[in-house]
Amino acid sequence: MPVRRPVATLMPATMLVMPRLDATRQQALSVSLATGAYGLSFGALSVAAGLDVWQTMALSLLLFSGGSQFAFIGVIAAGGSGAAAVATSTFLGVRNGFYGIALAPFMRPMRPLTRAAAAQLTIDESTAVALAQPPQDVAARRAAFWWTGIGVFVAWNAITLLGALLGSAIGDPADWGLDAAAAAAFLGLVWPRLASKRAQGVAAASAVLALALTPLLPAGLPILAAALVAIVAGWNAPEREVPE
């Protein structure tokens, strides 16, 4: 826990951290909006699959993991059983468990309630933006996690409701280029981390492997293949080649 200090000594430290936090919040907000917009598709598709507005909102509030939610309603829409929907959604959510491990070094220690909140907000985007901050800047990493997690949660749920109420009357977020915006956001996050040859190799191999596996595996799992590439690359890597 931080020691209580007089405000005067805290000020310079705060000013030092502020520019970084501003960039972090900018990233968090852009990612939240680009991702949250897809709640519109989810809300509309969920109602079309036969769920009512309450059930649709329960999925966005409680399950809160885009890939798993789309898979759940996809199975229901295809006439699958509830058990099949639960199994598919859980399978796709496995990667969120690995994200918690990646977040642990700078998120711990947490109080039980904070930990529960952090767990609920542990998704692709909050993890990606948090890990994209400099590793020595714990404050920026934590801020990135909470701002992105809460930002996506609020946007995703508000826009899911809109989609569920408006149904198919609304357009596709792709018409607004929001799919491209999300891709550009991930590119912007990985960009500064490609300094070493080995990091470039891992990025290229992960991207190619994820694309190659996309036609073969359910959505979300090709991303996990990136972890395999990282394990191979990091197993015996010299310390100076490890990206920060």
Partner: protein, 107 residues
């Protein structure tokens, strides 16, 4: 039970399992995290994860590989990143490029 009730049961079960999966990652023992090999792998996981998220977001639709307006959009984004443009501008420019191309009926 009615099919409507069964759907509710499935929703609650899926949500509970999703939460437990997420929670499990946050409570793995500290000792696992301190090994130098775990540190090195974690550094590469970030790069790999971001690159994989970028690739699937830019070049796939459902389970198909596609080249559409997003290709031009991420090319513009890469150019802006190379010119050290601010993050928010990169994201907005990519959205604008894709939206304009689609308005013109391409991709």
């Amino acid at each position: 039970m009615t099919p409507y009730t069964w759907t509710w049961v499935a929703i609650v079960a899926a949500a509970a399992l999703a939460f437990l999966t997420k929670y499990a990652g946050h409570v793995v023992p500290e000792a696992w995290l301190e090994h130098p090999r775990v540190h090195r792998i974690a550094g590469f996981v970030t790069v790999g994860l971001l690159a994989a998220l970028f690739a699937t977001q830019a070049f796939t639709s459902g389970s198909a590989l596609v080249l559409d307006a997003r290709v031009a959009a991420v090319a513009v984004a890469a150019l802006l990143l190379w010119k050290r443009a601010p993050f928010i501008l990169v994201v907005a420019a990519a959205a604008a490029v894709a939206a304009c191309l689609r308005l013109l009926g391409w991709g």
